[in-house]
Amino acid sequence: MCKRLLISIAGVLVALVPAAAFQPPGGQSEFVPVSSLPPAEQLPAAPLLIAAYAFVWVAVLVFVWSVWRRLTKVEADMRALQQRVGRSEGGAPR
């Protein structure tokens, strides 16, 4: 197991050398200021910002609600089960 692990690590390192040597073509390194666009193409930022924040809240609340719904279902099943077991225990002589 150890030998296999060492061989795999060696293989990965050997293969990484040419990968590391290659430099990707330079991408854009800074933002082009949006203010240099013609005014017709500029969007109001506020609705996007509010939409983003609102989405975060909505997503988290939907998740919490979904967990709560599943939890109540499980607890209902547990109560039903305990009732069944309680009834059969009370009825059957040991």
Binding site: P24, V34, A52, F55, F63, L71, V85
Partner: protein, 220 residues
């Protein structure tokens, strides 16, 4: 962890309520203006997502090799939460991009990479729910492979596309933005812990229910 649930909820709620104040007071970014403030929710949600991804992968590996069901429960919870935070990131990203780049989606390297990881973990959830018998182990394998894939996705997509602001933007953050940013990161991480606690509680109740069903079968 359960007894910390209520104080944790209060702390997280307070942090999220205060966050907009901090963010509004943070320095205005010159080139992008107001819409850049999405950054304070967008980037911390990625931090939270990848933390959840690595928790899921690690727990899955431990589950597969040690067979302890507690690890499976942690993995299931972390998987769902990773998809949640990934969704937040994938929605806030294009909202920001629409204003900053002019288009909703531009195959930007980091967003594409996040999309791929999100798809892998949606696959994880699908296997857990619809995989049939033994799906907990299948899902564990999916999580392990998905987590191991993260560096490859990073390298391949990065070389394929390079328009996103370089990762180094975080260390070069101006002092005025520092406070708001790290406050947001802390808020999201605490939210992650809170949601994990909640979700793990559900898994524990489910495990208890399964045990009760088995006990009933033995009894009857």
């Amino acid at each position: 962890m359960r007894k910390y649930f209520v104080p944790l909820t209060i702390v997280v709620a307070a942090m999220f309520a205060y966050a907009p104040v901090m963010i509004a007071n943070a320095d205005y970014e010159v080139t992008m203006g107001l819409v850049q403030k999405i950054f304070y929710f967008h980037v911390p949600s990625w931090f939270a997502m990848f933390t959840a991804v690595f928790i899921c992968g690690g727990a899955s590996a431990l589950f597969l090799f040690k067979r302890d069901p507690r690890f499976d429960r942690v993995a299931a919870s972390a998987g769902e939460i990773a998809v949640l935070f990934g969704l937040i990131g994938l929605v806030t990203g294009p909202l920001w991009g629409r204003k900053a780049w002019g288009v909703w989606w531009q195959w930007d390297a980091r967003l594409t990479m996040a999309l791929l990881v999100e798809l892998i973990f949606i696959g994880y959830l699908l296997v857990r729910n619809y995989g049939g018998p033994g799906s907990d182990k299948l899902a564990a394998a999916m999580a392990i492979f998905g987590t191991a894939n993260v560096p490859f996705v990073y390298v391949s997509v990065n070389i394929w596309r390079t328009i996103h602001p370089k990762t180094t933007v975080v260390p070069t953050l101006k002092a005025g933005m520092f406070g708001a940013f790290w406050f947001s990161v802390a808020a999201f991480m605490l939210l992650l812990v809170l949601l994990m606690t909640l979700r793990l509680g559900l898994e524990r109740q489910r495990a208890l229910l399964d045990e009760l069903y088995l006990a009933e079968d033995d009894h009857v």
